[in-house]
Amino acid sequence: MLYVPHNVIEQIVALCKADQHAEVCGVLIGQWRGSEKRVGRIVHVENVAQTHRETRYRIDDRVILALENTLQGLAEEILGFYHSHLNSSVTPSQHDTALAWEAYSYLIVTVDRSGGESYASWVMESRNIGFQKELMKVIGGEPTAESLDTRREE
């Protein structure tokens, strides 16, 4: 189960809507207990895919390395990643699946031409099974106590 505060999902959707020419991407950060992930905040990063950025994204490895180094020993973890699909579906593409890691959440946001959005989170428990939709719950209209705590730690 992926818990996402209302303001965080709004932030992600706004970032995805802001670019209609390239997929956008970022990292979901928060607390991870068993199969329960609670997003506290996001780190929005540049899509460094070299070509076909309208259908591809890549997060710079060094960004992830730096984040892992920063989070080492803290209560926060990288929980997964979000990216947008332009005028497409919220279903992971072949390439999304081929490159996916187990356990992380992959949140996909679709923005269509009319400006409407939809999103779904995917998780791969095992490579043999492939991606399955992850239960996702948007919580509160306000930031949760946990996400406020997380901010204080920064």
Binding site: R62, L65, E68, H83, S88, S93, A100, W101
Partner: protein, 177 residues
């Protein structure tokens, strides 16, 4: 000799939940072998059957990607920090079939009959359009259309048609040429 290895979350179920473990090895390859002795199954997650690093795995020694050093033969020394860093990417597969032909029936709504939709389709998306049959009256337009191109381009072209209110029905399955 001691080398610190940072483990990303998805692999911690193999390291008893540890985010950082100690191991040893003269090279990255040796280190992975030793890690696998300590934490069974770890190497298989990182390397394929040929022993090469999987596409979605990066290994950094201190701040350098081993792919830009000597890959798995990269030498290691006491005190090195080795990080297993997930490669995060997605999108259209490089080897997506590029030459698919899809035949579809289109039913145009009344308001779209006058519009040059097929022309727009070819201009907007990287697809080759070939009209195989059409019947247009003032009330309704029917067309059998063949689309050639990459899977994604064809998918996008079809989504676009649907967005315009055109009814799209497949004639037959994809033919990969």
């Amino acid at each position: 000799m001691s080398i610190t290895v940072r483990i990303p979350q998805p692999l911690r179920k193999l390291t008893n939940g540890l985010s950082e473990v100690s191991s040893s090895g003269q090279t990255a390859k040796e280190l992975l072998g030793n890690l696998d002795q300590q934490y069974a199954g770890l190497k298989e997650r990182l390397c394929d059957e040929t022993g090469a690093l999987r596409r979605f795995v990066n290994i950094y020694v201190n701040d350098e990607d081993i792919r830009f050093l000597q890959d798995l033969d990269t030498p290691l020394k006491d005190g090195d920090l080795v990080s297993i860093v997930p490669a995060i990417a997605g999108g259209v597969e490089e080897n997506d079939p590029k030459n698919i032909t899809r035949k579809i029936y289109l039913t145009f709504p009344h308001k779209q009959i006058q519009e040059p939709i097929v022309w727009r389709l070819a201009k907007k998306f990287d697809v080759i359009t070939n009209i195989r049959g059409a019947s247009v009256s003032e009330e309704i337009g029917l067309m059998a259309l063949e689309l050639k191109g990459g899977t994604t381009d064809i998918e996008r072209a079809i989504s676009y048609l649907k967005e315009l209110g055109v009814k799209v029905e497949p004639i037959e399955k994809d033919v990969i040429e």
